[in-house]
Symmetry: C2
Subunit: 252 residues, 2 copies
DNA sequence: CGCTACGTTGATCGCACTCAAGTATAGTGG
DNA sequence: CCACTATACTTGAGTGCGATCAACGTAGCG
């Protein structure tokens, strides 16, 4: 009676074609920081990038590796993690199409402070940090755009600091779910589905708690009809109330 | 037998002369992002800045105010705070000479997400965000320098996220003390003194804990000879062991 | 169809928060 | 110069949120 697959996620197959040269051009010119550049300019920049594919769970670079390259997500999702001495991981960000990560800094001897790992099948475009800086040096508008994106991420990180400092687990998870559904959500039969494999462990690492606590909170949310969830997936079904718990709107 | 004042801090008087035009020029040309500019350029930029003084505890801008200006610390220290619905404040950063804060973004309708407050007597240089962006737009090297500073602050914020997610209060306080002594420490009779009024409350707000817990940890550290401390001041006396507790070196 | 990884739920424990009372410091005014 | 007061700090007792430890379900793949 039940179908073989119950996951509502659309699982993308790894298509080697996803990183063709043609598609690279299209992606690059749609990047927030290269928008508005002349087509010839884009072509020249494109030649400096190389593409690479990763399978789900594969490590793109590891915390402590020499930080020599900058990456742009061309397909799939990438997660950035910091490790702790106790083996616990902290999930800092999940990056989707068009977002960059890696090293901007040219300082020799610098290392990546975080690990980048493919959350799904992933295709990235990569360039050496030096080459990227050379591109920016003669394109002030692009540099300003990168600055704006970095400043926005700083704000987001500081918001996370506030939440970890002051709010209980339930509220932090509600907040994270709202933000994830903004970024990756799409209408589906089960509700507003977060289009990404998302485990209780992932959620725990994003909110500074344990898998067990995350599971209890999600179970509670589900009982109250705020979300629907299964193995590695979650859909928001009552966003207003979730926002209220997250502190994003008055409880009403 | 005891002297009238026991505070080892050098308390700076508010000198209105601290923000004279001459000194402004000197400060501006030493800024990381204006370093290397021609003197005439600096003079032109200087004219776009206005100076302002604040008394200790005074608010420079409040979270939620329209974010129209960028600020540079010319004297004293400024703290950036986020508030919570429960009245608890979270201290994100303490800024010293030459560091910037406020709004880089030009987006109309944007507001400051944090409050900026004078920790000591403070002098700041201020410029409209638009004017600052105009300066950057024609000086790519300066824009890159601002980007590097912002990226470094993002890394620091993400490190704080990791600590709040995974480490106990004692370790977070030890880490914060090490970083503060790096930034503001100077040799003194009592040890390596953090040259800034620093209350237990400040420390608690920096590390996501309560005043009482911070007090207990500092008392413990003092008993073990790691620090010396009094009302609103603290000096590091055993940095290696403090670093070990902070997780910055093997326990040995 | 069985194996593996993910998820759930229960019981217990402990770190840090809360509430509370008391002490010490450093300005202030007499 | 010293009592007075405000504010910072300390310390104790009790509590609770969330971590830990443990056992058991269950989905999905090979």
């Amino acid at each position: 009676m039940a179908s073989r697959r119950t996951t509502p996620l659309e699982i993308e197959e790894i298509e080697p074609a996803a990183c063709t040269v043609d598609l690279r051009l299209q992606i690059l010119q749609q990047l927030p920081f290269f928008a508005g550049l002349a087509p010839a300019d884009i072509v020249a920049i494109n030649e400096q990038f190389r593409e690479r594919g990763y399978r789900p769970g594969e490590t793109i670079y590891h915390s402590g590796d020499a930080g020599t390259h900058l990456y742009v997500v061309a397909a799939g999702q990438v997660k950035l993690l910091r490790h702790t001495v106790t083996g616990q991981d902290v999930l800092l960000e999940i990056l989707a199409l068009g977002e960059f990560f890696g090293s901007l800094a040219p300082l020799a001897g610098d290392v990546y402070p975080e690990t980048a790992q493919a959350q799904t099948a992933v295709c990235v475009l990569t360039i050496s940090s030096d080459a990227f800086r050379d591109i920016l040096r003669v394109r002030p508008a692009a540099t300003l755009a990168v600055l704006d994106l970095t400043a926005a991420r700083l704000q987001a990180a500081q918001e996370t600091v506030r939440q970890l400092s002051a709010y209980p687990v339930e509220q932090r998870i509600a907040f994270t779910l709202v933000k994830l559904s903004d970024k990756l959500g799409q209408e589906a039969e089960v509700g507003y589905l977060i289009q990404m494999p998302l485990s209780r462990e992932d959620l725990a690492q994003m909110t500074g708690t344990t898998m067990e606590s995350a599971s209890r909170v999600i179970s509670q949310f589900q009982k109250e009809g705020l979300v629907r969830s299964g193995r590695q997936w979650l859909a928001v079904t009552d966003r207003p109330r979730l926002e209220a718990i997250a502190g994003l709107r008055p409880p009403n």
